[in-house]
């Protein structure tokens, strides 16, 4: 554990060095850091701000503007339900409802307490040809239905159970 905490911090330094501490590269820097931590921890934002000589309030402003940045840890499996027009007319919201119900997420919650799942909507993944689309981490699932989604979650739960 201790070692990995260091590794992550080490990586942040590498990222900053790679971008030559250039404030204009703030977005790629934050992206790379998020890749490492899966979210943007507060002290790391402060560290980046100090390193780039940019006010922390500005970095925070950038981090909260773009929907890809997250300031809270996300689950191991991130479900993105596409709500682009094509998916929407093919009833993608039914899929979202099915996932939320299956995961017993309450109003306003997007991540399960065990940090296993995060559910969010995105506005078009550009895979309209196979609408409605659900993306789990990097995997794109096309022509989804609420039923298929529930099966998918069950598979993941099974896999997680056998791993433990």
């Amino acid at each position: 554990m201790k070692k990995s905490a260091f590794r992550k911090f080490d990586k942040v330094c590498d990222i900053l060095a790679l971008h030559k501490l250039n404030p204009a590269r703030l977005i790629p820097i934050l992206q790379a850091v998020q890749e490492e931590y899966r979210y943007l921890p507060e002290e790391i934002i402060a560290f980046i701000a100090s390193s780039l000589h940019v006010p922390a309030a500005k970095v925070y402003g950038v981090a909260t503007f773009y929907s890809h940045f997250t300031l809270k840890p996300k689950g191991k499996y991130v479900f993105k339900v596409c709500d682009g027009t094509a998916c929407h007319v093919k009833r993608s919201m039914g899929i979202l409802d099915a996932i939320r119900e299956k995961l017993k997420l309450k109003e306003g919650e997007s991540t399960t307490l065990d940090l296993l799942f995060t559910v969010e909507t995105v506005s078009c993944l550009g895979a309209c040809g196979i609408a409605p689309v659900l993306v789990v981490n990097e995997d794109v699932h096309g022509q989804m239905t609420p039923e298929k989604t529930v099966i998918l979650i069950d598979h993941i739960l099974q896999k997680e159970a056998t791993h433990e």
Binding site: E43, F47, A49, S50, V59, Y60, G61
Partner: protein
């Protein structure tokens, strides 16, 4: 021939105006706007200054370049409708408690709604209800009243280069806030209050101490002293129909007496004292070879700026307290015995043009025996409110005069209120003559001059606005410029443009206020601080010499490194044992480049291999201000310069053995 254009049937010449809005103002039409300020970048967000340009339709005047032969209309049904919709939209999101808002009657949104005759709102009222941030001693942030014009954000970054607040979130969730949405006092704010000055509504206001002052005045045990800063006297009258710059000090004194203050003194007295102490310090630095340049320290926002962003220059700040703090400390050591009362019964209230002064009064260095040297600071605006509240007809008052001796001053102390004033006062002391140094007066971002003193050229620079100060500091760091004395005031134009003053919207009132101060100086008997007989007497009776030990204990102070006050050091690797060694590695830019990262990596590996992890904690920190000697590593309290693995390991083993 000068090109012209038509504005509401008037032909107006174009003479290099940056945008239509300025030109329309020239045509004597005041377009409503929240987000346009001539001193800030064009933002174009409020959409209120929309005008109709023939052939091009509706355009925002602030972002449209004037072109020859344009035909502009500022009043059409379409435009009126549009403004009405905009104001209704803003009101629908706005806090609905106008009557209890500190900005009521001074609020641009309220004013505009009234002008537009808005009686009902066709939209759904969805006011926000975020918590109000009262964490700082100077300012109150009420996000529920914010119209997101961004004036505060831009003045904080563009004019002050602080960036304590910025926009966060997006769309209808967008808000202005300090970093991480924390309280203002947890961030990088220097409390200059310029944000409050430009805020069109009550979203950022001055934290009022009026109620507390009323409390003092009502308390029979308290002996309440007021002292008035120079800039206040040329601005307060504005609220009572006087011209900007017009002297109303007599009326202010009279009003303060009516309000119940026991004594009314002049901050310019301690400004005179500051001149002497600061000049003495400067001359001694010249003789002892530094450290130079010496920075003035009267402006608390500037002092905080240095401590926070450039602590390596802390040593360059004059050790003199500001006139406000000199006054508090002096008054509380002199007056109790004179009136035969306890020190704690004597209360000092300063009347300041400034919000940062409120924070300064709370600094721990200025607390003596558990009591603040300056008990309360009220701004010009707050005093105006007190006068109005008491129903005093300010304009009709018979002039009063200051109490002595702390009400006596030379012109040098008075001009402190304008940018360049401190420098001029110091120069008059150094050359020991009352001459005007016109080079340091004015409104340019940077002014400079030099004089010969004992065969040596003394180079002096004056800046106001912290962005200007930052530029200068960076040039000094790169050794592009060399100065001996630098005066910095955080607010553009100096204290006359302070955030506690009556709100002004263009530079002209600042110029008039400055003129008022110099006029005051001109009509006074004495112009040099050292000529002030009461100051001379003070040295004889109490302070001995300028720069004496006694003077130091009462009139001087120390500064702190306040860098990286957001969050703590980052723990990279935590130790599990209670008896642990803490290794902090500097990750400031210099140390970073000199291999702090490699060092951390090696150290981490070393601890891992030798199974020392649970005894040793590694942390990352920022800048120990010894960049030349980097990489810097701190083991417990021991700082290792030019650190190498060998140095670290041997020190570590030594500690672990013990």
């Amino acid at each position: 021939m000068t090109p012209t254009l038509t504005i509401d049937q008037q032909t107006i010449p174009i003479t290099g105006e940056r945008n239509l809005l300025e030109l329309i103002r020239k045509a004597n039409i005041e377009l409503p706007t929240f987000c346009y300020h001539s001193e800030l970048s064009v933002y174009g967000a409020c959409r209120l200054c929309i005008v109709h340009v023939e052939g091009r339709g509706l355009l925002s005047a602030c972002s449209t370049l004037p072109q020859a032969d344009m035909v502009v209309k500022t009043q059409t049904q379409e435009i009126r409708n549009m403004r009405q919709i905009i104001v209704e939209l803003l009101l629908a999101r706005h806090d609905q408690s106008c009557t209890t808002c500190p900005k009521s009657s001074n609020c641009q949104l309220q004013d505009l709604a009234q002008k537009l005759g808005i009686k009902t709102n066709r939209f759904k009222l969805r006011p926000n209800s975020f918590p109000i941030d009262e964490s700082s001693d100077a300012l109150v942030r009420d996000p529920n009243k914010c119209v997101l014009c961004g004036d505060c954000v831009r003045i904080c970054s563009e004019i002050q280069s602080v960036g304590a607040i910025d926009f966060a979130n997006r769309g209808s969730a967008a808000m202005v806030m300090p970093c991480f949405g924390k309280d203002l006092s947890k961030g990088e704010c220097v409390y200059c209050g310029q944000c409050a000055r430009v805020c069109p509504t009550g979203a950022i206001t001055i934290k009022s101490e009026v109620e507390k002052v009323w409390g003092l005045l009502d308390d029979p045990r308290s002996f309440v002293i007021a002292h008035i800063a120079p800039a206040v006297r040329v601005a307060l009258g504005e609220a009572f129909g006087f011209e900007s710059g017009q002297q109303t000090v007599g009326q202010i004194i009279a009003a303060l007496r009516l309000l119940g203050f026991d004594k009314v003194y002049d901050t310019a007295f301690t400004a005179d004292l500051t001149v002497i102490e600061e000049s003495t310090e400067f001359i001694s630095r010249l003789e002892q070879g530094g450290p130079l340049p010496q920075f003035t320290s009267c402006c608390p926002a500037w002092v905080r700026f240095v401590e926070q962003f450039y602590p390596e220059f802390n040593k360059n700040l004059s050790s003199c307290r500001s006139p406000q703090q000199m006054f508090g400390s002096l008054a509380k050591s002199l007056i109790p015995s004179q009136i035969n009362r306890d020190r704690k019964d004597v209360k000092v209230v300063s009347i300041m043009p400034c919000t940062a002064k409120k924070t300064e009064a709370h600094r721990s260095e200025f607390i003596t025996g558990g009591e603040r040297d300056t008990d309360y600071v009220i701004t010009t605006q707050e005093l105006i409110r007190m006068i109005k509240q008491a129903g005093i007809r300010f304009g009709e008052l018979e002039s009063g005069s200051f109490d002595m001796p702390l009400g006596f001053k030379s012109g040098a102390g008075v001009i402190f209120g304008s940018s360049g004033g401190v420098s001029e006062a110091v120069l008059r002391y150094v050359v020991n003559k009352s001459i005007d140094f016109l080079e340091v007066r004015g409104i340019d971002g940077l002014r400079e001059t030099s004089i010969m003193h004992e065969g040596r050229e003394i180079r002096l620079a004056v800046v106001s606005g912290l962005h200007q100060a930052r530029l200068l500091l960076e040039r000094i760091k790169k050794k592009e410029v060399i100065y001996d004395l630098i005066e910095v005031m955080a607010c553009p134009g100096g204290c006359i443009g302070g955030a506690g003053q009556p709100v002004y919207h263009d530079e002209s009132s600042r110029k008039k206020r400055a003129k008022g101060l110099y006029e005051n100086d001109r009509t006074m008997e004495l112009h040099c601080a050292q000529e002030n007989p009461y100051v001379q007497e003070l040295y004889t009776t109490m302070l001995e010499n300028p720069g004496s030990k006694k003077a130091h204990s009462l009139l001087h102070t120390r500064y702190k490194n306040r860098k990286r006050n957001i969050g703590e050091d980052i723990t990279i690797s935590a130790a599990s044992e209670n008896r642990k060694v803490e290794i902090t590695i500097c990750f400031g830019t210099h140390c970073f480049q000199k291999g702090a990262q490699t060092l951390t990596r090696q150290l981490s590996d070393y601890l891992h291999i030798n199974q020392l992890n649970r005894w040793v904690e590694i942390k990352a920190s920022f800048c120990y201000e010894k960049c030349q000697k980097g990489p810097l590593v701190k083991i417990d309290s021991q700082v290792i310069e030019q650190a190498t693995m060998d140095k670290i390991v041997s020190q570590l083993l030594m500690i672990l053995k013990v």
